[in-house]
Amino acid sequence: MKNKYFIYISFLIGCFIVLPLSSFAQTVATALPAAAAIAPVPFISAGNTAWMIVATALVMLMTIPGLALFYGGLVRNKNILNVLMQCFILLAVISLEWVVFGYSNAFGSSSGFLAPYIGGFDWAFLKGIRVTDVSPYYISQATERIPHIVFVMFQCMFAVITPALIIGAFAERMKFRGFLIFSLLWAILVYNPIAHWVWSADGWLNKLGALDFAGGTVVHINAGIAALVTAIMLGKRKLPKGQHITPPHNIPFVVIGAALLWFGWFGFNAGSGLAADGLAANAFLVTHIAAAAAALSWVLLDWFSNRKPTVVGISTGAVAGLVAITPAAGFVDVSGAIIIGLLVSVMCFFMVSVVKRKLGYDDSLDAFGVHGIGGIWGAIATGLFATPMIQSAYSGAFYGNPKQLGIQLIAILVTLIYSGVLTALIFKIVEKTLGIRATDEEEILGLDLTQHDEIAYNEAD
């Protein structure tokens, strides 16, 4: 074990020494269009709209089949259908919740003291949003915008994937109906408010200046802490004495899932600029490079600490890198992306291989270890590496604005507390009313058979 710690520490030190030495020549995004003196009337840009429709579809791909296969391959063969079903039904249920009132709660406005905390119901059933309306939200393109409807759809996919990420923590031991009600309540009471705080025009964290380009706080820290809370409250899976690990039943699925997540993440991050421009191009670049750096550093850690590079390792590392770059994608340059990527694997690896085992909670598929820890690091890193070279209005501690780091820490802390407490509350309510933990027999026979009357792999020919 001593040897293991030594490897982590030397790796960390190595990253800090080597990277700043090679001061990267940055060529990306040298000139963003200067703000026009008189604000022209915004209109729907065909180019931006085309990209954003594609980006939205890419984000959908992340939940099914991306995340579904990533998680599905990691569970045992008696539980894969349950995981696939959970991802699939969230796409259906949360999408409906989103148009009924979720979007209005998250991105709409309300009056009075509630305005910074939750949107109202003005846009319930998307009332009043016409096909010709331009999106009220934009990042770098104030004039050439996208249709409001496309923004609704794009954000819908984010609302879907966030509760889906939590599945990794409670996989293999949750009743299906309990899961469904828990996830729906969680989307309404946790996701929508936090999305409002960070992303809506009235949101209090937004006004405070918290930077979250594509959802490090709203999506990953939020889902990560909810994952930790549910894993602890649900208790450990029933495993034979002395066994802590269940071997993944289909690692090729894990690889396909991770690859689709990587691919879909280009829509997630490069779409979060809400336009097809240089900022999107930079997000595209740093997303890719951070994922590559994290995949490589995880494999190197594997190699040094266990003597073999593993396939689950490279897949997990890539996902960790994507998580970490998410909040930073619109603010950092490629050197920032490399450091963020290299370091996130060190932290997540340490979390899932050492800390989790020490603390003894059963986060089945490391939803907290990867999304929670990766998200926290990403949010902090945004406060460190944000450079005015990308968006001139935003810089981090390493570019003369240490205040940003403080704001990031507030956003992280608030999210951890609010999401953690509300998750525990929702969990208790569902546990007391519907029941949430599968019975021992259901767990041993497998959730595929007991929750769905189906099995994934039929032996009969």
Binding site: I245, D302, S305, T310, V312, V352, S353, V354, R357
Partner: protein, 115 residues
């Protein structure tokens, strides 16, 4: 007649089959089996090395005439051997009767044509 059952390493199975063929044993059945013993298979998951609680082996079963018994055993002993822990076992049972379904032949005649 005797039934010979053997549990051998997956990695030696092809050699065992060839050795038995060389000893004129052309008829045999086998299964892939999981079991537990002193040998452990180490695996890694996200930085944690662990042992799976089962090892994979091949289970072979066939029935021979008494005259072929010794050479069958020797063939397996030679071909399945690596010297490491986990090479497996051979079990021998006396067989009371054997009947070939197509012809109704009984005893030694039912097993296979004499060379």
């Amino acid at each position: 007649m005797k039934k010979i059952e053997a549990i051998v390493r997956k990695s030696r199975f092809e050699e065992v089959r060839e050795a038995l063929h060389a000893a004129d044993i052309d008829f045999l059945s086998w299964w892939e089996v999981k079991g537990q013993g002193t040998a452990k298979q180490g695996l890694i998951f996200r930085g944690i090395a662990y042992d799976v609680n089962s090892v994979a082996r091949i289970f072979i079963s066939f029935v021979v005439r008494d005259i072929n018994f010794e050479k069958s055993i020797n063939a397996i002993l030679k071909s399945a051997y690596t010297g490491e822990s986990g090479d497996g076992r051979i079990f021998v049972t006396q067989i009371e009767q054997s009947i070939r379904i197509r012809t109704g032949d009984k005893g030694d005649e039912s097993l296979y044509d004499l060379k």
